[in-house]
């Protein structure tokens, strides 16, 4: 018995468990490269996590079991129902919240570590450096993610909230204060006041960075916060000498960085420009008004007309956007597609990388509605097809279809890769009103002669079309 106990508490044995754990994380993520192996991959990663937690609980000196049970019980009681109940349309909020929760845990751990060691007394210098880094980034991520959550959940106004010209100096000042106080601590200050002020300025920075960012830029912000939380976790791992934490944190950091970059490229904007914020705010109004009045008029159509067009089409491309998510219209869209397919119409879906509020948002919604993923086409794949398309059905997408991105150098979205729906024989746009989209930019597409507008809520409009289709 004594032998067995000492074996399980053996440091080398525990280190091996950590290695098994992070190997399973990596192996599990490799499964995510295909939809069919992904479920298994996720479960493998979960097993890795269980092993990592068990290894930690076996550490000699582990104690305070009451507190551990309490914390795990609270977390489970909150986590399970949240994961079960969340609607697929609300995934961006959920991911933002989870990012924040992770960042929150990181800065709380760093704080407790600071208090336990009396301000890093008797620890190696690098422990202080990485712990302070984790505290700052964790705090930024926690508050930034909470603001992002508030915006996505519409608890806060989605439009950019900025300090105008003061925004950049204020952000810079807050960042400088946080880093400066961090340096003071690393240099040997044991004052908890300094530590708390550092956390506070990082918290204010998190707020100040995300508040000015508009809803259309959310995919970038969420990815960036994801990367930040990952990197802060990796830093915690270095401070605590825990390889599983380091590897897991770096993988998340890499994932967030890759996604951030993909999103920025898909918007043709640099990451610093997005963080500087104000898309659709003061700075871009001049550009938008420069576009001026468009030639031509807007043609409004009816569900019956659209049904007629669709019924006699050979190929229909559905272009979903955030409006489809807001209206929860993915299921009725699938119904419409089924009705069309039964008439021999070929239906495809064109997915812009930044459609929706997070990377892959549209894909998840359509998967929920049982759309086979083979029908989901990425931008480069579908763009040449529009010329062969009879009807492009734009459902709640706006800026990603705006031809101004190609033609109008004064437009704020000039240069952004878009879905070339205007090349299709005819375009039907389902939209609530003529209000310009999030970016506040007029969409030239709506004034084109081959475009007609079907005004209304996406869900009821699509359902109306399906109903009309049944009568043809």
């Amino acid at each position: 018995m004594i032998l067995a106990t000492s074996f399980f508490h053996n440091q080398n044995f525990l280190r091996v468990l950590y290695i098994v754990a992070f190997a399973l994380f990596i192996y599990g993520l490799m499964g995510l490269t295909g939809p069919r192996t992904a479920v298994r991959g996720n479960r493998i990663a979960a097993v890795g996590m269980a092993i990592a937690v068990i290894a930690t609980l076996l550490q000699p000196g582990e104690g305070n079991w009451g507190l551990i049970v309490l914390g795990v019980a609270i977390g489970t009681a909150v986590g399970i129902p949240a994961a079960r109940r969340v609607r697929m349309t609300a995934m961006p909020q959920m991911v933002a919240l989870f990012n924040g929760v992770g960042g929150g845990a990181v800065f709380l751990i760093a704080w407790a570590e600071f208090r336990n060691t009396g301000g890093y007394q008797g620890t190696a210098l690098y422990v202080a450096v990485f712990s302070v880094f984790a505290a700052i980034v964790g705090s930024i991520s926690f508050w930034g993610s909470n603001i992002a959550f508030g915006k996505l959940q519409e608890l806060l106004p989605g439009r950019p909230i900025t300090l105008g010209a003061l925004q950049q100096p204020v952000n810079f000042l807050l960042g400088a204060i946080a880093i400066g106080l961090g340096v003071v601590i690393v240099a040997g200050s044991h004052s908890e006041l300094v530590f708390v002020l550092m956390l506070l300025s990082a918290a204010l920075l998190g707020n100040a960075v995300v508040l000015p960012i508009g809803g259309a830029d959310m995919p970038v912000v969420i990815s960036l916060l994801n990367a930040a939380t990952g990197l802060s976790a990796a830093a915690t791992g270095v401070a605590l000498n825990n390889p599983a934490l380091i590897v897991a944190g770096m993988i998340v950091g890499a994932s967030g960085s890759i996604l951030t970059n993909l999103m920025a490229v898909a918007m043709n904007r640099s990451i610093p420009a997005i963080i500087a914020g104000g898309f659709g705010g003061g700075g871009t109004v001049a550009g938008a008004s420069g576009a001026g009045a468009f030639e031509g008029t807007v043609r409004s159509t009816s569900a019956a007309d659209v049904a007629m067009q669709l019924a006699y089409a050979r190929q229909v491309v559905v272009v979903p956007g955030y409006g489809m998510a807001v209206a929860q219209a993915q299921h009725v869209v699938r119904e419409l597609a089924k009705a069309l397919e039964s008439r021999g119409v070929e239906v495809k879906y064109a997915i812009h990388p930044v459609a929706g509020r997070m990377p892959g948002h549209m894909n998840v919604l359509l998967a929920e509605a049982d759309v086979p993923y083979e029908q989901l086409k990425e931008m480069d794949e579908i763009n040449p097809e529009f010329a062969r398309t009879d009807v492009a059905l734009v459902i709640g997408a706006n800026d990603v279809t705006n031809p101004a991105a190609h033609t109008n150098p004064s437009s704020p979205i000039y240069g952004m890769p878009i879905l070339d729906v205007e090349n299709s024989h005819s375009v039907v746009v389902i939209k609530r009103s003529m209000n310009p989209g999030f970016a506040g930019i007029e969409n030239e597409l709506y004034f084109k002669p081959n475009t007609s507008m079907l005004f209304g809520d996406a869900k009821s409009a699509v359902a109306d079309i399906t109903a009309e289709l049944a009568d043809i």
Partner: protein
Amino acid sequence: MLVTNLTILVLAGFIGFAVISKIPNTLHTPLMSGTNAIHGIVLLGALLVVGFAGNSAFNKVILVIAIAFGTINIVGGFLVTDRMLEMFKRKPTSTPKDGEPK
């Protein structure tokens, strides 16, 4: 210790880039919720710090919160990812609904 840790850090960063780059756009939302679950690994940090003797009452409070946060990440993250990926696995082309996995 620092050098070992930095070695792991750098190598893990490169492996992360290599593996994640291969994940298709379609699965980027599940990837994000999956990485939410994986950064729940900070639970380990909270567990290690809470084990130390001499935690003050205030420390106990913030560490219980940190443990709860980490647990939310792990439990919620893996569950919601599983839910999403099951939807991707369904193959409506073979059977109309509830297609058996292979």
